[in-house]
Symmetry: C2
Subunit: 184 residues, 2 copies
DNA sequence: CCTCGAAACCGAGGATGCCTCATTTTAACG
DNA sequence: CGTTAAAATGAGGCATCCTCGGTTTCGAGG
C-alpha cells in the first residue's frame, strides 16, 4: 500500500534551508524574533516565497532554530533528575532555561504564547520542570504547593524581565521567587 | 512680554480627542495596545492625520488613556505610606499596580520599555514603591536587600505573566516572589 | 547523456499598517 | 460677516506580511 520509495531531498532545498536558518539566527540575535522575514530572505539570497515554503510561520522558523539548542537543554534537564540535591537541581534548571530563552529578544513571549510549532518545546519544558518539582517536594525542599506550571510561568517571566531590565535586575527577581519557592 | 491672550480651544478638537480616547480604550481592551491605530481613527470617524495630530505616538495615546486611572493609583500608593502594617502596604501596592497594568494586553511591555510619554508614570511608580520598600525595611519586614527597582521589575513581570497565563497562575508567581521578599 | 515529472523557487501583487504633509475646512474672535 | 490660525483631511510613500501562478531546476530512470 504505502509507497515508501521516497525521493532524495533536493540539494538546493537543503542549501537554502541552511542559509535561511543561518541568516535568521543572525538577524534574530540582532533585532529579536520580531524582525522582518523579508529581510531574512533577502540576506539569505532567496525569494520570500522560498522562505515561506520552508517555514510556513514565524513560529516554525523559531522552532527550527531552537531544535539543536533544545536537545542539549532537555538532556541537561533529564540529567538533573539524578542530581543529589533536588532543590539545587530545580534552581539550576530554571536558571538554565532562563539563560536559554535569552537567545533572542522576544523568545520568552513566543514561548509563553505557546504558538503552534513551539508547543512541543513548551510541553517538554513543563514536563521536566514538573519532575524536578516533584522530586524537590518529596525531599521536603519546597515551601508551598508549587507545581510544574508555576515553574514554567516563572521561567518565562524571568526571561522576559531580562529583555527589558538588565540581566542583573532580572536575576534579582528570579532569586526572589526562588527564595519564596525553595525551603531554607 | 509674553502674550497671554490665548485662544479658546476649538470645540471640534475637544470632541475628536474624546471620541479618539473612547474608541482607543475600547479597541485596546479588545485587542491590546498593539492594535491598529488606523482602525481606532476609523471607528472614531476621524482621519488618521487627526489622530496623529492629537497623539503623535502610540505611547502618547496610551499615556493619555492612563492619566485618570493613574491619578487614582498614585493617590492610593501615597495613602499606603501611612498604613500601619508596612509589609502589608507593600504587598497591597504591588498587587494594585499589577491589576492596574492588566487594563490592556501589552501595557506591561509598554511600561517596561519606559517609552517616551510613559516615562513619568514609570518614575512615579518606582518612587512610590521605593518609599514603601524603605518603610518596610525600617520595620524589619524585608528578607533581603530589595530595592524600588526590584519592585518595579516584579510588578511588570507579574503583569506580563497575567497576559499569557491565567490570572490565577500569575497570582501564584506573585505570591512566590512576595514570599521571597517579605519576612515571616 | 537525455528526458520527464515532481519539487522547489521566484517575485509580483493584494492587504494591512505606519506616518507625513500639502491642501482644505472650520471654529473663534473682532 | 471677514480674518486668521488651528484643526481636519486623506492621498501617498514606505515597510511588512503572505499567497499563488508561472518558471526553473534537480534527481531518477531509461
Amino acid at each position: 500500500m504505502a509507497e515508501t520509495a521516497r525521493r532524495r531531498p533536493r540539494a538546493d532545498a537543503l542549501r537554502n534551508r541552511e542559509r535561511l536558518l543561518a541568516e535568521a539566527d543572525a538577524v534574530f540575535r540582532a533585532e529579536g524574533t520580531g524582525a522582518s522575514l523579508e529581510g531574512v530572505a533577502r540576506r539569505a539570497g532567496v525569494a520570500t516565497g522560498t522562505l515561506y515554503g520552508h517555514f510556513p510561520t514565524r513560529a516554525a522558523l523559531i522552532a527550527a532554530l531552537l531544535e539543536a539548542r533544545n536537545r542539549e537543554l532537555f538532556e541537561y534537564g533529564d540529567g538533573l533528575a539524578e542530581h543529589p540535591d533536588p532543590a539545587r537541581a530545580l534552581a539550576d534548571w530554571i536558571r538554565a532555561v532562563v539563560r536559554h530563552a535569552a537567545a533572542y529578544q522576544g523568545l520568552a513571549a513566543a514561548l509563553a504564547a505557546r504558538s503552534g510549532e513551539l508547543q512541543d518545546s513548551c510541553h517538554r519544558l513543563t514536563a521536566i520542570g514538573e519532575r524536578l518539582v516533584d522530586r524537590a517536594r518529596a525531599a521536603g525542599a519546597l515551601r508551598g504547593d508549587t507545581t510544574g506550571a508555576d515553574v514554567f510561568t516563572l521561567m518565562n517571566a524571568a526571561a522576559w524581565a531580562r529583555e527589558h531590565d538588565t540581566p542583573a535586575q532580572a536575576d534579582r527577581l528570579l532569586d526572589l521567587a526562588l527564595a519564596g519557592m525553595i525551603a531554607r
